[in-house]
Amino acid sequence: MSVLKELYQEVILDHNKNPRNFRKMDDATRHVEGYNPLCGDHYTIFLKLDGDIIRDVSFEGSGCAISKSSASVMTSMLKGKTKAEAESYFEDFHKLVKGELNAEQNMDRLGRLAAFAGVSEFPARVKCASLAWHTLHAALHDEGAAISTE
């Protein structure tokens, strides 16, 4: 059970059941759709940017527990952060789910993201965990079109 429990941690189960910032944002300055054609996961990330600052971020859509909780945790961490800070989280997150960053040694830096450390044991699920982040990345760079992880 341990590897499974590592994957489906309390934080992930909680954010899956009660996703934060799970709403459409009517006054978003940018929104980008992210899509995983393999499993049908589909989200839209909404951003309200004020210069370099992320004033608000939210999401809508559907998918598995891993992709949904990842989107939820992401939005809950980024409000008030700069674009550069968001990009730096994205990099850390990417390394974490690929098993290239030790969660225990980087707890301070990772915060809630550490909950996704277990994903690295499930290569088939890395794309689920990263979907929202890739979509955010595209939104920050204003790559307006829908992006897909495949």
């Binding site: 499974l4 429990k5 994957l7 049908g40 998918g63 699920r125």
Partner: protein
Amino acid sequence: MSGCKKAANWKSKMEITATYLADAAKAPVTVESCRFHFPLLRRQVNGKPLVYLDNAATSQKPQIVIDAIMRYYHEENSNIHRGVHYLSTKATEAYEEARIKVQNFINARSMQEVIYVRGTTEAINLVAATYGRMHVTAGDEVVISAMEHHSNIVPWQLLCEEKNAQLRVIPMNDAGELLLDEYERLLSDKTKIVAVTHISNALGTINPVKQMIASAHRRGIPVLVDGAQAVPHIKVDMQDLDCDFYAFSSHKMFGPTGVGVLFGKRELLEKMPPYQGGGDMIKSVTFEKTIYNDLPYRFEAGTPNIEGGIGLGAAIDYMNGMDLNAVAAYERELLAYATVRLKEIPGLTIIGAAKEKASVISFVLDGIHPHDIGTILDYEGIAIRTGHHCAQPVMKRFGIPATARASFAFYNTKEEVDVLVKGIYKVKEVLG
């Protein structure tokens, strides 16, 4: 009770194989004796005995198929149709013998009607690109069904785009059965071909293709049947069905990957332009004019998948050793048992309730995404497929993004169904 009485009779060098084939030939037919022929089924996954329920994606291979391929490389490897030397003759014989086995297996009139291809996908593309290009013109219609695999949608879409023709779709009801009245209404002078699946990979529905072919023929319309999911489950008979084209893949019927068959009626194949150009498909080439080869070679350009053809032949030997009616009866029993057991699970909904159904069960769980089901079951050693099963229009029809799908072969058991059910309770516990 499934029925693998005897498998094949070529002499294997591997003593174990020979012994258990002989045993299997004598022993009463049981599921266990079948399982014994499939070495992969003995392995563990994540520390648990493997429960392989992804047969609609690909089946496992019996030892005689694996041996046939090994024997080919150990003893006969060489190129076919082109050498005068001993090995080339042997390899050609083995490859062509396999074609005859296919012909007999599907009851085609002639070996000229059996074209080796890469798989179902290539078979359908071949027909769309040759017969389709030749006969479909602007304003014409191609009729497919709402439950097609992407491989029986996209080639026709490409054709229709190119020719400015229309794709028409036979709708289905909530049980996942085609609406035959609607089908009749769709057929018209504009219809140039009907392409329909024999068994749906996403829903398990067995379509009444014989009746559908007869309807189309009354209006002079030819029919292509996608038999990818049918051949491993039911006896298919080209002359009885009277279909014009029939496509299937070796890897779903216990043979190797990378090879499949397009059956085509000779009268139609003879008039079709070539698909790809190259070696083997020609009689003579000058820079001014090329004379194409006879059937079936005209549609087989280049060095083919020789081991694949030979392996497919061995798979057919294996299936011929079974009583296919007993297999079908056993699979029906397994399907009925699994359906009852799964329905008992609170929050579980089965997608696809056709009266005529093969042993494929798609399902969803309230509040739990299929992908999470797949991961947790995998942890228990259970292999199922999750996702849209290359049938996105089916998912859309039922208003779901994806399903979890358990698909059974004759080597699966009721005990494995029980393990699956237990696994699903575990999923609910983990994500509950």
